[in-house]
């Protein structure tokens, strides 16, 4: 193989990393580079430094150390049997690229993953070395997200956590049968075992930090995971249920959903057609209902179609749930408790907080609510305000066309 220059390697190894949806640089400890030492800072909130035409944010330099891999997972462009061009960065090259980009304010930090070469431990060692060098040799205080190899030695994973803000291990597929088909060399119990180990380390460190402040930080932005949607037979109900179980058991910060997309040189095992991107969007909305709107997992799953287990694509899951539970509506914006307001389609958490403060002093009209939200069209049938009572709406059988958004354009490549 001809010698590749740094830019060619970057093209190959960024291309190989783009199927990982995670890009967040938020939720870590605050740091800055004061006193002329070190470089970088982190705020509570991450920063997206650019957006690509696929709508995804570019916050971190997201690359693989190498796209060579001894595994042959069918959904992966980097699988052993794929004929993509292979490349490999040295640790020093990744460190330099990260710093060069960071100094020009292109990125918040680094998201490093890798194909598995030689062994899991060897690969993990290389990943840890990049993070160590950034932190120790260059005093880098920006964000670092490391992908963790499930089978690597727990000692190595622990070292990774001392340098990184966030660690992640991908469960890859929502169902065990799907994992067996598409990633026959990966094992769900080993993946979950590694996630359990991470949770233990994260919890222990948080505990220690309560007792003495100098305790070493371990992955202060926690752990996350990703699952591919549409490559196995999982329904939305299956996926929501699986996510809830992962959140609960491993205390994850985020579960990322990545709509399977066609890859060059695809394996025949893989479906050729991707699911509609809207499906991915509905799953994120379902995820938010659990994390920010106090829905139980079974309640979110209930928004899915009873027969097919799929979330409707034309309306969001919150609206779908409300239409199935009309007896819970309308709720009175002036008296209802927070839990009830959280169920109203079209009312967000921020608007609800403002409503709760504002209504202490006076009664709110529909126009008042309109000023606190984006639009009242969707919430009108579900809400009672001082001058508004939807007497008949919630009983109407044809409520759905009134509140469902008009479909403006067919999705490109719709299946």
């Amino acid at each position: 193989m001809a010698q590749l220059d740094l830019r060619e390697k970057l093209e190959i190894l960024a291309d190989a990393a783009k199927y990982d949806a995670s890009c967040s640089s938020s939720g870590t400890a605050k740091r800055k580079s004061a006193g002329g030492k070190g470089i970088g800072s982190t705020e509570g909130m991450g920063i997206c430094h650019a957006y690509a035409p696929d709508g995804r944010c570019i916050s971190l330099l997201k690359i693989l150390l190498t796209n060579s891999c001894i595994f042959d997972c069918h959904y992966c462009i980097n699988r052993k049997s794929s004929n993509v061009r292979r490349a490999r960065f040295t640790a020093a090259e990744v460190v330099k690229l990260t710093l060069d980009f960071y100094r020009r304010n292109y990125i918040e930090g680094l998201f490093l993953s890798s194909g598995i070469i030689r062994s899991s431990d060897y690969t993990m060692e290389q990943i840890v070395e990049v993070a160590r060098s950034l932190r120790e040799d260059h005093d880098f205080r920006g964000y670092i997200h490391l992908k963790t190899i499930p089978d690597a030695d727990p000692g190595l994973i622990h070292q990774a956590g001392l340098h990184a803000d966030r660690l992640s291990i991908n469960v890859e597929l929502p169902t065990l049968a799907g994992l067996a088909r598409l990633a026959p060399e990966k094992s769900a119990p080993r993946i979950e075992g590694a996630m359990r180990g991470l949770r233990r380390d994260i919890d222990d460190t948080a505990d220690a930090m309560k007792r003495y402040r100098s305790a070493p930080k371990f992955a202060p932005a926690g752990q996350s995971t990703q699952m591919i949607v549409g490559a196995d037979a999982a329904t939305d109900r299956d996926i929501v249920t699986r996510s809830a179980s992962l959140y609960g058991r491993f205390n994850l910060r985020r579960v990322y959903y990545s709509a399977f997309s066609p890859i060059p040189d695809a394996s025949a095992v893989l479906p050729l057609q991707r699911p509609p991107l809207m499906r991915e969007h509905r799953l994120y909305q379902s995820d938010w209902l659990m994390r920010f709107y106090d829905y139980r997992p079974d309640e979110v799953a209930d928004a899915a179609d009873a027969a097919t287990g799929m979330m409707p694509l034309d309306i969001d899951p919150k609206l779908a749930w409300a239409l199935k539970h009309r007896h819970r509506f309308p709720v009175d914006v002036n008296t209802a408790p927070r839990e009830a307001l959280l169920r109203v389609p079209g009312l967000g958490v921020k608007a609800i907080d403002k409503i709760l403060i504002a209504r202490r002093w006076r009664r709110l009209s529909l126009a008042d609510v309109g000023r606190l939200t984006v639009s009242v069209t969707k919430l009108r049938p579900f809400l009672i305000a001082d001058d508004w009572r939807p007497v008949t709406l919630a009983d109407r059988a044809d409520l759905r066309p009134l509140v469902a958004p008009k479909r403006e354009q067919m999705e490109l490549f719709a299946a």
Partner: protein, 458 residues
């Protein structure tokens, strides 16, 4: 009429002091004119405000935080609007809690705009490296929408503390030498360096991390509006990336379709194994097992039935019961070797109603057909048959995604989205249920004819 002249566009302290004095003197908002620096004085302004009033005016902290942000907004009315709100708060402190109030709503929107601009400056500002006598220096040109530059300086000092840098904007320049921050006058774009070799590397990254199979330009534009594009090097690539995206995805799918399937047998076996655990609909709860399709994975002809019956459910193979035997006979008469065709069902679990000791076949509903369509799609994509024969209305519905009247659509080809064509005929169990012998014979002959017509298309 009072005139207040503030020192700068972002002079929060000046506004606060003047507003405090005016409010203490109960000057109505209509009587105050606010201006900045040496802007021309209002023609009717005749009384200047004297600062230094120490009248205590207690305002909620929330208002102060709001004012601090709103002052940075580019709207010339901001000082007057804030003062109007302040006079109302002096009368009733709860006004600040009422976000539904039109004035407060307007100010909160302005504050939000300011916060967003601050955030976007942190996100979209790009440094270029230059070298001078003291070594590397980083210079950026940025055009904010509001007067946020000074307020945003701390962020860049904290982040790029060990670097020497300058941020040039039309109103003000900031310079950090590694120890102190200094201010200079506004600059122009030509004062900033015009290139940096690292930008080419960054652009390569931007183009490579983009996934052409998922174009979502609306989402991109929402977060990265065009007004910021002119000072971001990577955005020059956007039009071309969008233009090429569709072609790249289509090419990927096409190549994959055209490529000789290298491991389709393994892929089919894996699919069958996954289907054995299917719980996509509730039918798995009472059926014995999943009955997956069978036949060569490169079969040119695929036959799709409705669902496994009692015997298929027990055997785990499609078309082994009475209807299957009838199908075998018809296939033979039509000159088709069953062993060369791929046989499967629209629904892969047996649906039945228990009646005593017997299990009576029950028609799958639309939801069950849709739930199971995932498997048919995978089978179609793997086997890639030239002709698919839908046996009965359930199979036709599954393949075409709509209700189908067999009598109307029988006898001609319908193109399938997965490639190949579908032909529609009756299910063999329909023939078994016809009581009159002569009609049965006639329908059977038609069925054989349909199969023969399908085989003729191969």
């Amino acid at each position: 009429m009072r005139v207040v002249t503030l020192a700068a566009e972002d002079d929060f302290e000046g506004w606060r002091d003047a507003a405090r004095a005016l409010a203490a003197a109960q000057v109505p908002a209509d009587d105050v004119v606010w201006q900045v620096g040496d802007a021309p004085a209002d023609l009717f302004g005749d009384e200047a405000v004297l600062g230094g009033s120490d009248a205590a005016l207690r305002v909620p902290r929330r208002f102060v935080e709001l004012a601090r942000e709103v002052v940075l907004h580019s709207d010339p009315e901001r000082f007057a609007l804030l003062y109007t709100l302040l006079t109302r708060i002096a009368a009733d402190p709860h006004v600040v809690d009422d976000s539904a109030d039109p004035l407060l709503q307007r100010l909160e929107r302005m504050a939000k705009g300011v916060r967003r601009d601050i955030h976007k400056m942190r996100a979209f500002l790009r440094f270029r490296e230059v070298t001078d006598d003291a070594g590397a220096r980083f210079v950026a040109w940025f055009e904010p929408e509001h007067h946020i530059v000074r307020a945003n300086a701390r962020f860049f000092v904290d982040r790029f503390n060990s670097m020497r840098w300058s941020i040039l904007t039309p109103e003000i320049s900031l310079h950090w030498d590694g120890e102190t921050l200094s201010e200079g006058p506004g600059a122009s774009k030509t004062d900033a360096p015009q290139d940096d070799p690292t930008e080419a590397v960054w652009k390569s990254y931007y183009a490579s991390i983009f996934n052409p199979a998922r174009l979502k330009t609306g989402a991109m534009l929402k977060e990265m509006p065009r007004k910021y594009w002119k000072n971001m090097p990577e955005t020059a690539l956007v039009p071309e990336l969008i233009k090429g995206a569709r072609a790249r995805e289509t090419a990927m799918v096409k190549t994959a379709r055209a490529a000789p399937a290298r491991n389709s047998l393994a892929a089919w076996e894996a699919l069958r194994d996954e289907a054995a655990h299917c719980t996509r609909c509730h039918l798995y709860q009472h059926a014995t097992q999943t009955v997956f399709g069978e036949g060569p994975v490169d079969a040119p002809l695929m036959l799709v039935g409705e669902q496994p019956g009692d015997q298929e459910d027990l055997a785990g193979r499609p078309f082994v019961g009475p209807a299957g035997q009838l199908l075998d006979r018809a296939l033979a008469e039509a000159g088709i070797d069953r062993g060369t065709a791929y046989l499967t069902n629209a629904v892969k679990h047996f649906k039945f109603e228990p009646r005593g000791k017997r299990r009576i076949h029950s028609k799958p509903d639309a939801g069950e057909i849709t739930a199971c369509r995932w498997w048919i799609e995978q089978e179609l994509l793997l086997v890639r048959p030239q002709v698919v024969v839908a046996l009965g209305a359930t199979a036709a519905r599954s393949l075409l995604g709509r209700t189908v009247t067999i009598a109307r659509e029988r006898g001609h080809a319908i193109a399938l989205p997965e490639g190949g064509e579908a032909r529609i005929t009756v299910h063999p169990s329909f023939l078994l249920r016809i009581p009159e012998e002569d009609r049965k014979a006639k329908e059977y002959a038609r069925f054989v004819e349909d199969l023969r017509a399908a085989a003729a298309r191969l």
